[in-house]
Symmetry: C2
Subunit: 339 residues, 2 copies
């Protein structure tokens, strides 16, 4: 398996597992036809075997199944998982990274448990205290990375500075931006606005402008017109932004659908529908699924729990490119430069 | 002036004052033709006089101009305004409420100063500690009120409980909902999610379900499908939600515009454009402008500083109906019942 990227998959994680997870792997391989990829499937062997047999061979997917008798449930307490569910698919898939048997893992399971297990098993990169969830979202022109999306409800200024470093490394490694601009999410652009943690991080980042391309505060409504590459915030605020955006997106999709439900102008409605859905495809949440839990000493990708195969396929893509572009070396190098 | 509703207007507040403010008053009266309304215009008399002369008489607007020689600037410190700018249009308009010379005031000026001046001059309603900014936003079906939108960056659980009471009173008085359902904005619906202040407010509100129709936690993406009437959050989070929604709305409007910029199907594009913009009109931010600073012993309405006449006209509408429906008595009665 030298020269192969090995991805460990928690086949039992997520609302529609194992079906959607297996379909997602198949879909990824159909879409990307990656030659140097090997899957380690963690879960109940008997359940998985019958579902993948034949099917994966046909799709040219190289894999093995590792039997994990236990499953992490959506409301399992993280501390309990560490104590009593070392034989779960999630736990075992994370351990595979630790043991050098996998380069990354993907799970659609219990977010809190995934966070705590990953941190406990893998530990953190040097100079980083806490993992943060990072993903890429669209702007009017281009896209931006945002972290944290929910791993840390409240964040000190030190965390926000570390997130800025990790976000910069992520933008370089995954978004291919040489000198990414970083901004702190706030409710005003004046320096006296916002929480104390933001004000302190603002000062600290301003003093490190030679290392981080810091652009000050950004508000969500000006963000979409801006040239900012990385938006830094605490996990509560990031999660609210993400879900507010999803909510408005859904609402407007519904509104457009109603507007174009035409009995009188069927052709014009059809043409418009086609053109709008083509333009809107770049906002498609399925193509944005998969948040890296960045800062860990290993690559762990969280897929949306309610996702279908298209979502899961994209989470695998995120894991694949994070390994391929060696994102963690970028972070380690950046932190060494700055801290 | 008995039986008339008197609205004090800070004519000098906002980026495009006094022009936009004067146009806004004119537009409101054109749209609503309210008979029992009287405007007190606070600002530089010489500047205002020449602009309204003839014009307001023609539009049947009853008014007087009260000369205020000073102006609150966008970056004036609130404490400084209280000490040194008692002769400003904003300050004098708030004092008019205090002295019983006006029933409400509207300003598009410096939010922080407006907050602090209002609290200092008017004081709070009984059992309420801090004012909160409240407005109405659209859902897929109907609308919901949300507070706080930015008056209080961080909030204790006591504040969140008081906001729930004020939001309930607002929904009764302004949205005409008899038994409004209230939810706390959070990043999950599980009881162990979110900040401590939220968890404490959750317990307190759960114990007062006979008084407040408390529905637990709500996430922004499920909110738009929900039957929730009042969403309660701290000012930082509320402001992020509002601006995220505005940002996504702008981005999708831009996307639709691009999609329908047709060279080949001009008719179908035109028809679709018309139908979509008709459906989308209910999201029009101009028709949603005007946040009440609720909890004060008087009615103060904040208009967006960057607004045009349509925005300002709507802020006047909010003030008018808040007086007309006697929103503060609703709050006082509710708090007496609950606290």
């Amino acid at each position: 398996m030298k020269n192969k990227i090995v991805i460990a998959v928690d086949v039992m994680g997520g609302d529609k597992s194992p079906g959607v997870v297996i379909e997602g792997i198949e879909l990824f391989q159909k879409q990307h036809k990656v030659a140097n990829l090997y899957f380690k499937l963690f879960g109940k062997k008997s359940e998985i075997e019958s579902r993948v047999e034949g099917r994966f061979a046909k799709a040219n997917i190289e894999y093995e199944i590792i039997d994990a008798p236990n499953v992490v449930l959506p409301d399992d307490k993280p501390s309990l998982v560490i104590r009593n569910k070392k034989d779960s698919s999630m736990y075992m898939a994370v351990v595979a990274i630790k043991n050098g048997e996998a380069d990354a893992m993907v799970s659609g399971g219990n977010t809190g448990a995934l966070m705590v297990v990953s941190r406990f098993v893998l530990g953190m990169l040097a100079n980083i205290n806490r993992p943060a969830a990072i993903t890429v979202l669209p702007k009017i022109e281009g896209q931006f990375a945002i972290l944290d999306l929910g791993a840390n409800t409240e964040c000190s200024s030190e965390f926000l500075v570390q997130f800025s470093i990790m976000g910069t490394a992520f933008a370089r490694a995954v978004m291919m931006v040489d000198n990414p601009s970083v901004a702190l999410l706030n409710i005003g652009s004046e320096t006296n606005k916002g929480k104390d943690s933001l004000k302190e991080a603002f000062i600290s980042l301003s003093q490190n402008r030679d290392m981080i391309n810091f652009d000050g505060y950004i508000e969500p409504d000006s963000l979409i017109h801006s040239s900012i590459d990385v938006v830094v915030t605490d996990g509560f605020t990031g999660n609210i932004l993400l879900k507010s955006a999803e909510g408005v997106f859904d609402m407007l999709k519904d509104t457009i659908r109603k507007a174009l439900k035409s009995y009188f102008f069927p052709i014009s409605s059809l043409i418009s529908k086609y053109r709008i859905s083509k333009e809107m495809s770049r906002f498609d949440p399925a193509l944005r699924n998969g948040a890296i839990l960045i800062g860990l000493n290993g690559i762990v990708v969280k897929s949306h729990g309610k996702s279908d195969a298209r979502f899961f396929a994209n989470a695998i893509k995120v894991a694949y490119y994070a390994v391929h572009n060696d994102i963690n070396s970028h972070i380690v190098n950046s932190t060494e430069e700055i801290i």
